[in-house]
């Protein structure tokens, strides 16, 4: 597993930050971001895919009232792909029984989807080798988050109560020493770097670190390892043509 990985540094892999507004569609945006990134990695072709198609055509019919990433993938499989964002644009609201999937040409599709192991080292390895994946976390600490690496305990952020899906785009280590009072009071201890995950949120670029945030890597912070899911795009190959930039 490479020591660092940041798919944002690769050209045309990660799309710009989305804003779900008052529509609880994080699940659809995370799934579309995952498929778009994998399509770019495997086909060297940038596509902008329709989130609205997932909201209108979701098999559970809940649209902006919530859903899960696996529902999004099943919808893509059932509809044999996704239309483009240009043809089927995001509205920020949805009405049941208004699926227009058959009206527009499919511009990308998936073969399958899979859930990864809950081992954070294995997740890092898969991320570096194959591309960004989706994760579902407890979003409790994100309402007041501005920047930096969140390191929580199960007491401050319950890892079993996961309620927000985002795209995992990389990982690294913060070189500064830990900033807790305890660490500072023990000045003889060597300064340790903080391992972190880099996650893409869908709450606009005004939030967090230009729309991104970082979680501590190594203690299942906020339940990040509970549902690591990804689509499978393209044929099963040993190694995709692009590797993750350090």
């Amino acid at each position: 597993v490479p020591p660092t990985c940041d798919w944002r540094k690769a050209t045309n892999i990660i799309s710009s930050i989305r804003n779900q507004g008052n529509c609880a569609c994080c699940w659809a945006m995370a799934a579309v971001d995952n498929i778009q990134a994998l399509w770019s990695i495997n086909h060297h072709q940038r596509v902008d895919l329709s989130v609205q198609e997932l909201l209108d055509c979701n098999r559970c019919g809940n649209g902006c009232n919530g859903g899960f990433v696996w529902d999004a993938y099943i919808t893509v499989l059932n509809n044999s792909g996704l239309a483009s964002e240009k043809d089927y644009p995001f509205q920020g609201h949805w009405k049941p029984h208004r699926c227009l999937a058959k009206k527009y040409k499919k511009v990308a599709w998936i073969q399958d989807f899979t859930m990864l192991s809950s081992n954070e080292q294995a997740i890092a390895g898969y991320l570096a080798a194959h591309g960004p994946i989706t994760v579902t976390i407890n979003k409790k600490l994100l309402q007041n988050y501005q920047k930096g690496v969140i390191k929580a305990t199960p007491g401050s952020c319950d890892p079993h109560h996961v309620d927000h899906s985002v795209l995992l785009v990389g990982y690294g280590r913060e070189k500064r020493g830990m900033q807790t009072g305890m660490a500072l009071s023990h000045s003889r201890k060597p300064r340790r770097s903080t391992p972190y995950w880099i996650l893409k949120n869908s709450w606009g670029a005004q939030w967090g670190e230009k729309g991104y945030f970082r979680l501590y890597r190594g203690n299942n912070t906020c339940g990040i390892t509970k549902y690591p899911l990804t689509a499978r795009v393209g044929p099963l190959v040993k190694k995709p043509p692009i590797s993750c930039p350090p």
Partner: protein
């Protein structure tokens, strides 16, 4: 009418100033004075919550004013999560255990 010392008096005004800047930054307006007062109260609560999180966090995160600082925890949960609690993952069959060892 207050028993507070003189230097404590400006605090509410400072909060209102901070809230005014928040409203400008994130383009927020409220329909009536009652709603404004409610949102101001929620904003103050969230700033206090952010301060507490700052003390509790074990990493390097900074907490404070965000675009969601005028929302209650419940409103934030309803608007920005996926709401429904996952019951099970699709295609994950339940494991049927036999009462006798050796039988699948």
């Amino acid at each position: 009418d207050s028993l507070l010392p003189k230097d404590a008096v400006p605090q509410p005004l400072e909060l209102k100033e901070v809230f005014k800047l928040f409203q400008i930054q994130f383009n927020r307006s409220y329909s009536n004075p009652a709603e404004y007062t409610r949102r101001l109260s929620i904003f103050a609560h969230n700033l206090a919550q952010a301060q507490w999180l700052q003390q509790e966090d074990l990493g390097t995160a900074e907490f404070g004013e965000t675009p969601f600082s005028d929302l209650t925890e419940e409103e934030f949960g309803q608007l920005y999560g996926h709401q429904r609690a996952p019951e099970r993952i699709p295609n994950m069959a339940k494991k049927i255990e036999s009462e006798k060892w050796g039988q699948s």
